[in-house]
């Protein structure tokens, strides 16, 4: 139990309204977007400035309270589910200021609770571009994006969150201030701690300020939708586009099952018999260049056996082409009560093998699975449609997930492209890496967080 004295100390520090200990409030922070059991925290704290955040961390440390930092709680691997004993949730949504957008030096400094889409919009207003666009960007926070190294649809061409992190200043486990990275393109001062913090899922420190790189936006784009009656042809098309030195900003794939679910949902008249569709978008800094690329892509699609290709002539048509992709998750999510969204990732040449394996696993365990995802970077989202209340069926789901990961690793891929390891995938980590990797990571963790108070149990267990 947290003592009345400590509660009073937190209330004095943060204000009564920012210290939540009622049963209802605590239950409201016991879950995230992962299909996992909820764990109710003992206390929920919302600091509203940097000093308060530092003091909060120090007080939790002094009182041996495990801390789980939470932005919007959209995590898909349980990274924001608190710790079982005396868990404290630290909210970042009171730390939501964009501190600087520097148009000369192309960087921004933000607090961790800034919402991704709001930040991207502010940056766009100044004629600049922040590319990472995770699916939850309308609500997700930049702190969460950095902690998970979030990806998105633009990964192939523009990279993911880690490619935009220039510096991270954070509070260590004891509540002392650590600075890393900087505002310059070149910076080799000290260990590269900033990149160590990226994807650390709250296990190494509590972010206070993040310095992000900005880039000039593309001036033109062109979207195409190609249908295939053989998934291998779709995959060969992807390989051929890249072999031709064209890097589309979006290269999204929907498999046959997903196409049918989307068509059932939207009644948009999608090609239900197509094995796959590819949504391809090219962009760039010059209209003529983009037009050229689009013509080449169209040609490549046809040469590689696309049975039909549509090119968007204007923004309205582009919007229409995107409709199938936009509706992929909503359509799948509506089909059954529970949606298990995975993100196993393979080298892009292995996509046909991976999709075939996923479908075989689906038949073997009698499960409905639709697969869509980022074909350009091999990051697939096999989405299992189930009902978690049906224990027998859910056991089959768990077996299927095990096999999906096995096959992804066999094909030279990885457990997680962008959702993180959290608690959902921690048990498979050694399989992809090695015993020594886990031990190395745990030593690192123990060195900076000897009491295991920073989001314990995540990534490397323990």
């Amino acid at each position: 139990m947290i003592s009345a004295t400590l509660l009073a100390t937190f209330q004095k520090l943060l204000g009564k309204e920012n210290v939540m200990d009622s049963e209802a409030d605590r239950h409201a922070y016991s879950y995230d977007a992962a299909v996992l059991d909820a764990v109710v925290p003992e206390l929920v704290l919302r600091p509203t400035n940097s000093e308060q955040l530092g003091r909060t961390v120090a007080l939790c440390n002094e009182n041996k309270l495990p801390m789980t930092v939470r932005g919007a709680g959209t995590n898909l691997s349980g990274g924001t589910i608190p710790t079982k004993e005396h868990g404290v949730v630290i909210l970042t949504n009171g730390l939501n200021k964009i501190l600087e957008i520097n148009e000369q030096d192309l960087y921004a400094v933000v607090e961790p609770g800034v919402v991704t889409a709001k930040f991207a919009a502010e940056v766009a207003k100044r004629g600049l571009f922040y590319p990472p666009d995770p699916g939850s960007q309308a609500v997700s926070t930049l702190g969460g994006n950095v902690a998970e190294n979030a990806g998105g649809l633009r990964g192939l061409k523009y990279g993911v969150t880690k490619d935009y992190v220039m510096g991270v200043n954070f509070w260590n486990a004891e509540g002392e201030y650590v600075k890393s990275g900087g505002k310059t393109v070149k910076c080799v001062t000290g260990l590269n701690i900033a990149q160590l913090m990226v994807g650390s899922e709250g296990t190494l420190g509590v972010y206070d300020q993040i310095i992000l790189k900005l880039v000039p936006p593309p001036v033109a784009s062109k979207a195409m939708l190609a249908e295939f009656d053989d998934i291998n042809k779709a995959s060969e098309t992807v390989a051929a586009i890249i072999a031709n030195k064209i890097v589309p900003c979006t290269l999204e794939l929907l498999d046959n099952a997903t196409i049918k679910y989307v068509d059932d949902f939207t009644k948009a008249g999608l090609p239900r018999d197509a094995a796959a569709i590819l949504l391809i978008e090219v962009d760039g800094g010059h209209v003529a260049l983009v037009e050229d690329d689009a013509v080449k892509v169209l040609d490549i699609c046809k040469k590689n056996g696309a049975r039909h290709v549509q090119t968007a002539k204007d923004a309205a048509e582009k919007n229409k082409l995107w409709e199938a992709r936009r509706n992929a998750l909503p359509a799948l999510a509506r089909a059954r009560p529970t949606t298990v969204l995975e993100d196993a990732t393979v080298p892009r040449s292995q996509i046909p093998a991976m999709i075939k394996a996923i479908n075989d696993i689906g038949s073997k365990y009698r499960l409905q699975i639709g697969t869509f995802g980022h074909a350009g970077d091999g990051n697939l989202h096999p989405t299992i449609l189930t009902d978690r209340r049906d224990k027998e069926e859910f056991t089959r789901v768990e077996h299927a997930i095990d096999e999906i990961f096995d096959i992804a690793l066999q094909l030279g891929g990885t457990l997680s492209g962008e959702h993180g390891i959290g608690i959902a995938k921690a048990k498979w980590l050694e399989k992809e890496t090695s015993k020594a990797t886990i031990i190395f990571s745990r030593r690192l963790k123990k060195a900076v967080d000897p009491e295991y108070l920073l989001n314990p149990g995540k990534i490397i267990g323990g």
Partner: protein
């Protein structure tokens, strides 16, 4: 856990099938007007559903904490309209309010209003008729353009509000009940003014009657109509709600007509969607009667544009008018283009869009009474968008939104008039 809370948990299991479809993605945080102010997870749909689930699983001991969160909702439906899984959030919340609030008991004041007054339309009407004669003693005009009032004295409930006074004469005293045959249009409608149009905004009702006469539409407007029931239901008083629905069904069943029109977004959505939704526990014959009437319910803007095919000629010039989308029209009834088209029929109107036109105004019926500070914070955002549009008139399709918007503009001394779309359309005839 007491045996009683166990019983409450059992009752909530009725909602299991609907709640399980929430995948906890959290995207409702992007659109919830309450969350935008409080940033508290328990105030957003995902949080409330998680709390109800945990209450149903008997993991929560204190139902009062959940009830408090459950009532902290405008029932605007923004979350449902934006939900990737298509969770029927309003269905869940309304049913949950009935279950939880019935279990916890209704506060005495609400009991007196719903059960002693609202369900007895004749008594309710005469009490407010008397009140309208005396209101000038306690109130004074606050804003001439808007026509709002504020309190002369420190009054509970009214507080700092700038409210619209009760009309000197309600619609039912200005316009006799009628039952006319269709003219050239071939259509016959029944008209349900609703409480606010009858008692505060009779001119909206008169505009509707003028429009129907112009288009030669037959009108059935019977005496003895009751409230649509939403205030009682939103407070979890299903008995009063059922009585009000039955009263209206009795009155409107007496005649045949093509559509049952209202000029109140909230009444429309309640009668069209929520009447059938909440009728499941009633005898089959009553369910059928309610369903038959509910399918005929239509918003007046939609009737004029989709059925009567009113068209906008060319773009007008003159008074700048903007439009606020009532949640219950756009998000519940998917009506948003029709009112804009009607505004464009007025040659003296220059239509301008405001930013975030479909953002909730923050009224939410009794939400405004119980959480005024929050309601005002949400409403102030709407006020700022209206003022930024530089419109001289803000039009909308719901008298409840009009009350809230008038309060917000009036408190800021803005000279922006608040009108219903049909008032502006009627001017052109």
């Amino acid at each position: 856990m007491s045996a009683d809370v166990h019983q409450l948990a059992q009752m909530l299991h009725e909602l299991d099938d609907q709640m399980v479809s929430c995948m906890k993605c959290g995207l409702c945080q992007a659109v919830c007007p309450v969350f935008a102010e409080t940033m508290s997870e328990g105030d957003v749909a995902r949080g409330k559903i998680a709390l109800l689930e945990n209450l149903a699983k008997e993991m929560i001991q204190d139902p009062q904490g959940v009830q408090k969160k459950l009532n902290m909702c405008l029932l605007c439906g923004s979350c449902a309209a934006n939900c990737p899984s298509g969770v029927k959030v309003l269905d869940i919340f309304l049913k949950a309010r009935v279950i939880v609030n019935t279990y916890m008991g209704l506060p005495a004041a609400k009991k007196a209003i719903f059960q002693g007054l609202l369900t007895k339309p004749a008594l309710f009407n005469s009490v407010l008729d008397v009140a309208s004669k005396f209101q000038g003693v306690f109130t004074k005009t606050a804003n001439e353009v808007i026509g709002s009032s504020c309190s002369r004295i420190q009054a509970p409930v009214i507080g700092e509000r700038h409210f619209m006074p009760l009309a000197k004469k309600p619609l039912r005293k200005l316009e006799a009940p009628r039952n006319s045959r269709p003219g050239k249009s071939g259509y016959r409608i029944a008209f349900f003014p609703g409480c606010l149009i009858d008692k505060v905004y009779p001119q909206i009702g008169q505009a509707v009657l003028k429009i129907m006469e112009h288009h030669e539409v037959g009108v059935y407007m019977p005496a003895g109509q009751a409230c649509c029931g939403i205030p009682a239901l939103a407070s979890g008083d299903k008995n009063s709600f059922d009585k009000l629905v039955a009263c209206n069904v009795d009155v409107f069943e007496k005649e045949n007509f093509d559509y049952l029109l209202t000029a109140c977004a909230t009444c429309t959505a309640t009668m069209h969607e929520i009447w059938p939704l909440m009728s499941g526990n009633l005898p089959q014959s009553m369910q059928d009667r309610i369903a038959a009437l509910a399918t005929k319910v239509m918003d007046v803007n939609q009737f004029l544009v989709d059925v009567l095919k009113v068209e906008a000629p060319v773009a007008g010039t003159g008074t700048k008018v903007t439009y606020h989308d009532p949640c219950h029209l756009k998000k519940s009834m998917k009506v948003s283009e029709q009112p804009r088209l009607l505004l464009k029929t007025n040659p003296r109107v220059e239509f301008v869009e405001m930013a975030d036109a479909d953002r909730c105004c923050g009224c939410g019926g009794s939400f405004n009474l119980e959480h005024y500070t929050l309601s005002k914070e949400i409403g102030t955002r709407k006020r700022n968008d209206i003022v930024a549009s530089e419109a001289q008139v803000v039009a909308t399709g719901c008298p409840a939104c009009m009350l809230q918007i008038s309060d917000m503009l009036s408190q800021h001394h803005d000279k922006v008039a608040v009108k219903h779309v049909v008032e502006l359309y009627a001017e052109t005839l």
